[in-house]
Amino acid sequence: MFDRRGLLLSAGALAAAGCSPRGGGDAGAASLLNVSYDPTRELYRAYNTLFATHWRDTGQGDATVEQSHGGSGKQARAVIDGLQADVVTLALAADIDAIAERGLLRRGWADSLPDNACPYTSTIVFLVRKGNPKAIRDWPDLVRPGVQVITPNPKTSGGARWNYLAAWGDAIRRPGATEATATAYLTELFKHVPVLDTGARGSTTTFVQRGIGDVLLAWENEAFLAVEELGADKVDIVVPPFSILAEPPVAVVDQNVDRKGTRPVAEAYLRFLYEEPAQVLIAQNYYRPRNQAVAQRFGTRFPQLELATIGDFGGWTEAQAKHFADGGVFDRIYQPSGA
């Protein structure tokens, strides 16, 4: 495989005009490009091996899957600009909607797979310093005096948008809450944020490696990974009583698979995510599996908590326009004082 890549590269260089960066297409050896967001690196590295075995065992031949990772919005833009993705596995539906708007895949993509085309879910939890010295247990604790919160910028990070919506969901369900009190809570919350990184991984590094802040708002799977990779002796996970059901969706990019003739393997690649072996892998990588039997096997790993859904916000189109678009609620939080 190593040599094949090298050859492809030199061939591409010789052609200078630069054809497709990848081979793909020839019968028997299928090659896919999965364009994904940042935190799924470990999951898809494992899943691609699993799928290749499955594809070979069912007599369909070899399947290699190349990976591209980056911020969810940036990745969607790359696909729009011509990155030849066969499948996209992004952080939020709004980013796949943006690709659909440009006609690269059909608008009803969410109906083509079970569970709104989200084979796994996650939620937003708190990562705190070892022993939780600031006693942070619930959303209102985040805006206590002296507490510093780390979250990426919702404008550039999909995960940060889930963070934001989870915070809003908690604020709006409190007794006597109104839009005004929720906005006030979010405004106060972001006053406690000393660093806004552009992506989820950047925020985790800022929190764990640079020692900035008392609590990190993170994907549940990212929090587990941070504990595992960066030190169980440094940080603890705190699951708040209420959070949001984060649903990262997947879709086949119709225009690209039809041109490359990779539709069957691309569709199989996404469908197999719902099968039991894949669901086990998903749970092992700290994503919440859709398959309840698998979820139960992992028992206490995924505690039950009350979850808002994106539906409570009227879907992504509405949430996006209201909160994150230019001039939306998030922008108003960062108005200069007096304006």
Partner: protein, 279 residues
């Protein structure tokens, strides 16, 4: 006075047509056509839309920070770069060649790596950041951090512009001035400074222009807080994340226009100075 207007002075040396043609072709291909795309794109928004895109409070704050920090960084580099160039040209000391080679490092080190390394050092738990933290000074995640990263990327421009000129300043004139009783300060002000000023200005201009647009090293250390430590290139990226190409190009165009004006002013100043130097 009866001279005809001529586009080009005649020369017996061959190759003008070939080299001029190639240079114009190359510049068109790699600079002019791409810039045309940048210049024409924002007008989709209309003049009003363009104006709105670059005058929101956040855009203004980001532009102000980028230009202000780049300016201060260029001035600091002017002073420290001059000191460094002076040390490298006028004195012999052990390790001089290594120091000389190190000056170019900011050209070579990927900006993201530089940003990560600077953050690790100057963060409150970093080796130097901790020391500053004790006296209550924060460097990383404040505009000071932005400044530090911009000093890093601009340093070689000043040193490398001044160094060759400083080597050329005639030691004899200096010695003559000394014999005539000029003090060290007078010699520096009257003999050396006029000679190196055009090169210094040109180096400072380049350091400034480079710093204004810098992205990779700054985002790690800046903290990126809107209105406080958010730089203009980050706003371009944010616009792109929202699939707003025209808005991104608008901010890019505003930045380019502003730094072009600064460069033009510096070039004008340089021309005046070198004319006065010759007179």
């Amino acid at each position: 006075m009866t001279r005809r207007w001529r586009w080009k002075e005649p020369s017996v040396l061959p190759g003008f047509g070939l080299t001029f043609g190639f240079v114009v072709f190359y510049l068109s291909l790699f600079v002019l056509i791409p810039l045309a795309a940048l210049i024409l794109r924002p007008w989709e928004l209309g003049l009003g839309g363009f104006w709105d895109a670059v005058t929101t409070p956040r855009a203004l704050a980001a532009l102000r920070l980028s230009f202000y920090a780049a300016g201060v960084a260029a001035l600091i580099n002017a002073v420290m770069g001059l000191v460094l160039a002076w040390a490298l040209v006028r004195y012999e000391f052990p390790g001089k060649r290594i120091i000389d080679a190190l000056v170019d490092l900011p050209f070579a080190l990927p900006t993201a790596v530089a940003g990560i390394a600077l953050t690790a050092i100057y963060a409150p738990n970093g080796p130097i950041g901790a020391w500053f933290d004790e006296i209550g000074v924060r460097i990383a995640y404040t505009p000071t951090g932005v400044l530090l990263a911009l000093i890093f990327v601009g340093l070689p421009f000043v040193v490398r512009s001044v160094q060759p000129v400083l080597e050329d300043v005639d030691r004899e004139i200096e010695e003559a001035a000394e014999t005539l009783g000029a003090s060290a300060f007078q010699r520096a002000r009257l003999v050396i400074l006029p000679a190196i000023l055009p090169a210094l200005i040109s180096g400072v201009g380049l350091a400034f222009a480079r710093a204004v647009g810098e992205y990779g090293s700054v985002i790690f250390i800046a903290g990126n807080m809107p209105l406080k430590s958010e730089i203009a290139p980050l706003l371009i990226v944010i616009q792109l994340e929202q699939f707003n190409y025209a808005g991104a190009a608008a901010i890019g165009l505003a930045m380019l226009g502003l730094s072009f004006m600064v460069l033009l002013a510096l070039n004008g100043l340089q021309a005046i100075l070198s004319r006065r130097g010759q007179a």
